[in-house]
Assembly symmetry: C2
Amino acid sequence: MKCKICGRPAVIKLPAHNIALCEKCFEEFVLRRVKNAIKTYKMFTKDDKVAVAVSGGKDSLALWDILTRLGYETGGIHIHLGIGKYSDESLQKAENFAKKINSELTVIYVRDFFGTGIPEIAKITKRKTCSVCGTIKRYLMNRFAYEKGYTVLATGHNLDDEASTLLGNLLYWKDLYLARKGPVLPSTHPKLIRKVKPLVFLTEREIAAYTILRGIDYIYEECPHAAGATSIFHKHVLNEIENYSPGTKLHFLKGFYERKNIFARLYPEETKMQHECKECGYPSSGEICGFCKLRRRVKEKLENGRETTTA
Amino acid sequence: MKCKICGRPAVIKLPAHNIALCEKCFEEFVLRRVKNAIKTYKMFTKDDKVAVAVSGGKDSLALWDILTRLGYETGGIHIHLGIGKYSDESLQKAENFAKKINSELTVIYVRDFFGTGIPEIAKITKRKTCSVCGTIKRYLMNRFAYEKGYTVLATGHNLDDEASTLLGNLLYWKDLYLARKGPVLPSTHPKLIRKVKPLVFLTEREIAAYTILRGIDYIYEECPHAAGATSIFHKHVLNEIENYSPGTKLHFLKGFYERKNIFARLYPEETKMQHECKECGYPSSGEICGFCKLRRRVKEKLENGRETTTA
């Protein structure tokens, strides 16, 4: 198997693109794909200061590596979730990588805001772990990207993540998600930073290969509370479809992005944050934002708990 | 396993509906599902004269049986495609069933119009067999339903057919098909009969069970040129999804029908047939309809062939 571009021995076959590539040409391919996504969806320019949402996993570290190599001004933001050893190791990987590329990493601890970590917060509020974690991460990422002077927030969502979510949203016709999902979530408020997904043109497999070739050390374990069987099942189904007809995943997602307006039109009002939270001052759909409501509930519960224990 | 409705021994489990049913209650369930689809999508009323497109397969015979039991005025139309033994046996099954229910069957022979059958027509016109067969069947079904005084044409498309086509159309974003597909194709010209799909709420498995319980004798073989691997593959994928989460197939299709307008809006012009064919007088998008064009080409070729042979 020879590299289609330079003729040297190939290290990876890419059926969706009908090519095989050597190490060097594959790395260039990956950089080109990301550059292409950034340009196609007007994600950001060299004038932007890009915050990378760094979990310590392969996607976010690959993203940080790629954006740095492409010459963007970047910095990482890591949220320490307080999920035992998993969170400590994730932080370690993120810190090691930041040192390696000599870039700034902002670390935010969930416990500094809640007095405890995600699992306990979920238990107290009787909400699903992934849902509560999403609310908290989105809030903290936005707030600290804003406070640190970043102009855009990039996340490591890849083609598999996006296509499988899309499949699920279509199977169950989740209009609101269909209306909102996209490679760019525009800012609708001065304190709400634009969010972008530069890895949408790359599959999980391609990103994994890239991290191996680049010697990027990431956390292999999935979060112990991980995403749930359904998204994994939809990824499996899409991989079957992809094997049957290579290139479908990419075509499916890109085609959706091109037709996004037909779904967005269904929810013209939903895209605006009308208020500012009376507690923290950040954008909110109600008087108090979801994050501050969560904090209140957890605080009350923990204080009552303490009283009960000491009584 | 007991029937959820009457408590007798159940013969079939329906995970999508979270029930098991006995023979009698299952038959009633099937009739109710069809009645429901007819009503939900305003397909036709007792004042209509319903032509059933009868291939001789399980879906079309079940449909004819069900509509008759529901008290509609029905008649069958069968197109003899000229695909060797397969076509002769299909006709036999259709005729036997018509006799059994004492109903009229109109039989149209493709060879009466083309001098030969589908396989030869496909060869001569260098078109795909299923595509050419579709054009011819749609034309003849509409024309003879109209000429025989029927007011609506019912086909045996079931939930699996429709959901798998929908999946394919979404994966590859075939806007035109998304805009046009539906349980009812309205008449847009006096000589274009409304087409309806009363079996869209029933799966292939449910229909197969119904035909067995009713002792309906149908042709088991698939057409030797059958539909191609992709639609079968998409059915397989959807069955996997259905097994993982029973009810998804139905939810997926119904949800699409509810949102059809958002796709239909993309092609407002495409729904109208502007002309009448100068040769046959039936609706056409151009001066000569696709059917008559096909006929011309086949006729020319066959006549030339005859000259060459006799020369």
